[in-house]
């Protein structure tokens, strides 16, 4: 538990350093009156046409959804692997290790099958 307390301390340290750096930059940097050119969104010198928050490809969302599925599955693997590896190294007596490994193998196979299904359905196609 102590180590997590230290990590929280580190979190505040990181926020303080980032905030301090931004503050230092703010205090030390010059402030010039804002010209219309400075106000414009940067587009290599051309005036911006249309809204700057443009529409983009829905494919990005598809990959985000796929990530969600696979990330939850790796999340489920973490405790399983932590337990199985301890058993493998003899720290959980009385559990048949090969059976646990086989179960883990089934899980990984389901993961692979899910990937194959998404692939087949065209979720990985870009256009």
């Amino acid at each position: 538990m102590t180590s997590y307390a230290i990590l929280v301390f580190f979190l505040f340290l990181g926020i303080a350093m980032a905030g301090g750096a931004m503050l230092a930059g703010h205090l030390l940097s010059p402030k010039t009156p804002r010209t219309p050119f400075q106000q414009a969104a940067y587009e290599c010198g051309n005036p911006t046409i249309g809204p700057t928050r443009v529409r983009f490809r829905a494919g990005y969302y598809l990959f985000a959804l796929l990530f969600l599925v696979f990330d939850v599955e790796t999340l489920l693997l973490f405790p399983a692997v932590a337990f199985v590896s301890r058993a493998l190294h003899g720290e959980e007596a009385g559990v048949p290790v090969s059976l646990m490994l086989a179960e883990l193998g089934v899980f990984v196979f389901v993961l692979l099958a899910g990937l194959a299904y998404a692939w087949r359905k065209g979720a990985l196609k870009w256009d």
């Binding site: 180590s3 997590y4 930059g25 990959f63 985000a64 490994l101 990985l124």
Partner: protein
């Protein structure tokens, strides 16, 4: 568990603090040692490591292209980065109109804070680690992904087309490669039977052949190479630097950032590179352990070198490999990059993971 770094163990600085500064109060000496250690572990990689890496990158890049790179400031341009930082601090922070100011100013801090949090668990030496949570691998995966939020909100707040497209690419790319990295870390966790980073390093005690890259035949080298490729993509470094591909997107997510905002994104990139390289050496190359070869007199000499020297040397070697990648390979298109992850690397990673389990079940790898 070693919570704070105990500098008092066989260390000149620790001895000085304990015997000279606080001879009458072990508790104060312990606290002072801890604070010194935290400061050193945080400040060295950030304020010494990152400028050095930026200089190193410019030199490596230059020499690969038969140029000299920075030469003017200091011997071989060694203090060039300091000059650049001073320039950046004094540069105007100029958010254009239409920017969501609060989010725009907060965003650069997010990747930097996230990288600090991962830096805290990197074991630089047997007693040189700020914190060692029991589920260290899980912590690294969970916290390491937070930096992406900074890219996304910063780019969305900057009200710029290039930034928006860069951030969308960042999202798709970093999320996708996150899975590969988790699977490979799970493999090392399974092989070593440990989940704290320090214990994973200690599970590789012995000669060079006991490092996880060699200890597990076939599985180890494969996982090592796959991890190197995936982490290059996770770091958004060339050849996978699509999120700031300058020929297409000017500077990608950081187009509208200048001065301190830009330098914090830039600093976070180099701190992240240090972290990933340190993780590669922790998981595969024996971390702070010396590369023993099994010949007694040689080993005695190697073991006499402090662990932190080995850790830094291995980390720098991996960093050099990342730089080598960057200046050697052309950049793929975004669809090619995502296809590489989902159609090649992820199935390969899962297959290597399954192979590792099979090898363990059959007893081909001694646990």
């Amino acid at each position: 568990m070693n919570a704070l770094i105990d500098l008092s163990a066989n260390n000149a600085v620790g001895d000085f603090v304990r015997d000279v500064l606080f001879p009458n109060s072990p508790a104060l000496a312990w606290a002072a040692n801890g604070l010194l250690g935290v400061a050193a572990l945080l400040l060295f990689p950030v304020f010494l490591g990152a400028p050095f890496l930026i200089w190193m990158e410019r030199k490596v890049c230059a020499h690969m292209q038969a140029r000299l790179g920075p030469m003017r400031h200091g011997p071989h341009g060694a203090v060039q980065t300091i000059a650049d930082v001073v320039k950046l601090v004094f540069k105007e922070i100029a958010p254009p109109g239409g920017v969501d100011r609060l989010v725009y100013l907060l965003a650069p801090g997010i990747p930097l804070t996230a990288s600090f949090l991962v830096l805290a668990v990197v074991p630089w030496g047997a007693n040189l680690q700020v914190a060692d949570p029991e589920q260290g691998v899980f912590y690294v995966v969970a916290v390491g992904a937070l930096g992406l939020l900074g890219f996304l909100v910063g780019a969305w707040a900057s009200n710029n087309k290039f930034a928006l497209l860069g951030a969308m690419r960042a999202g798709a790319q970093m999320l996708s490669y996150e899975i590969s990295l988790s699977v490979l870390l799970l493999l090392v966790m399974l092989l070593s039977g440990e989940s704290s980073l320090r214990e994973i390093v200690l599970s590789q005690r012995g000669t060079v052949l006991d490092w996880w890259v060699f200890k597990a035949p076939v599985v180890g080298p494969l996982a090592f190479v796959l991890y190197l490729v995936s982490s290059t993509a996770e770091l958004n470094r060339g050849p996978f630097d699509l999120i700031e591909a300058e020929q297409e997107l000017t500077a990608g997510y950081q187009t509208e950032y200048s001065g301190m905002g830009f330098s914090m994104f830039y600093l976070a990139e180099y701190v992240n590179m240090t972290i990933q390289a340190a993780l590669v050496s922790t998981f595969f190359l024996g971390g702070f352990l010396p590369p023993l070869v099994g010949i007694a007199p040689v080993d005695a000499a190697l073991a006499a070198v402090p662990g932190v020297v080995w850790m830094v040397a291995k980390t720098l070697a991996i960093v050099f490999v990342y730089m080598w990648f960057r200046w050697s390979f052309p950049r793929p298109r975004v669809d090619q990059l995502l296809a590489l992850e989902w159609k090649t690397l992820l199935p390969a990673n899962l297959a290597v993971f399954a192979l590792g389990m099979l090898a363990l079940a059959m007893g081909w790898i001694l646990p």
